[in-house]
């Protein structure tokens, strides 16, 4: 047994595939969801994304401050150590100079005594 001709079948398909009415509450739900989305509440995605943005920004600033402080402290500490080392070298040089002067004076005194 064959079915009806293709044209009739296509006509039946058009009749069968008429658009169905949407659920009665669909439009109301959509308008409510849209309204809710447009009025940002305390937990709205917009607010949350702003909060996280500020949080990230504050964390970045704090991290930059800590890193900057550490770098400055390290620089100052190196400078202080350098000054200390220079001061020690100068002291050593002064002591050495003083000792040499004393030896020179003693040698000069012996030379004078030998000549007399």
């Amino acid at each position: 047994m064959d079915f009806e001709p293709m044209e009739d079948f296509e006509r039946d398909l058009r009749q069968a595939f008429q658009r169905r009415p949407a659920p009665p509450g669909l439009k109301r739900k959509l308008m409510e969801m849209r309204q809710k989305r447009r009025a940002p509440g305390p937990n709205s995605p917009h607010r949350q994304s702003n909060f996280f943005l500020w949080q990230r920004l504050a964390a970045s600033v704090a991290l930059a401050a800590v890193l900057g402080g550490a770098a400055a402290w390290r620089n100052a500490e190196e400078r202080r150590k350098g000054e200390e080392a220079r001061r020690q070298v100068m002291t050593a040089l002064r002591i050495t100079g003083h000792a040499l002067n004393q030896m020179n004076a003693q040698l000069a005194a012996r030379d004078r005594a030998a000549q007399q």
Binding site: M1, D2, F3, E4, M6, F9, E10, D12, L13, R14, Q15, A16, F17, Q18, R19, R20, P21, A22, P23, L26, K27, K29, L30, M31, M33, R34, R37
Partner: protein, 178 residues
């Protein structure tokens, strides 16, 4: 590009909710899922209102997004043809006035057993009355593929109808006095 058309969300919902819902229902076979898809599609439309240039563009955009979201939902749920058949057969919560004729219901049941590309082409062709070129643009598919899907889908559906709808044909013949 400047355009004078001012989109009105509420008006677009009024005008196209039935189209979007029907496309999603016929593609997924699940009334509840179709309603969810319709909501998603219209909320997406709300985001894109500024980019739409005309009512025809809005209609085209809605069809395309509804088909794409339905295909995504089908892939996610991995719904098989027989599952859809049962859902549509039971009306799945549809009110009496929403149900179509017995022939319409049977054809929808058979439609839901077709492969997804065939089903998409047939729904756009016979629900939306689109040309193959318009279907190709909506589905972003090559025209030759769409034509092939239409032909094969129609033949397959007709063959299934010949096998499954003998009873309907007999009743129809009796009604027409043959």
């Amino acid at each position: 590009m400047a355009h004078d058309w001012q989109p009105n969300f509420e008006q677009l919902v009024d005008e196209y909710q039935s189209m979007v819902f029907s496309l999603a229902w016929r593609m997924t076979g699940d009334r509840g899922l179709a309603e969810e898809i319709a909501q998603d599609v219209f909320l997406e439309l709300d985001k894109h209102l500024g980019k739409l240039e005309s009512a025809a563009h809005a209609c085209f955009w809605l069809r395309r997004v509804a088909m794409s979201r339905s295909a995504d939902a089908l892939r996610r749920r991995k719904v098989r043809g027989m599952d859809l058949w049962v859902e549509i057969d039971e009306g799945h919560g549809a009110k009496a006035e929403e149900r179509t004729s017995p022939l319409g219901n049977r054809l929808e049941q058979l439609l839901s057993t077709l492969p997804e590309p065939h089903r998409a082409a047939l729904v756009l062709r016979y629900q939306e009355d689109l040309t193959p070129e318009e279907i190709a643009a909506t589905l972003a598919s090559p025209l030759a593929t769409v034509k092939s899907n239409l032909q094969r889908g129609l033949k397959l559906l007709r063959a299934k109808a010949s096998n499954h709808l003998r009873e309907y044909v007999r009743v129809k013949e009796q009604a027409s006095g043959l």
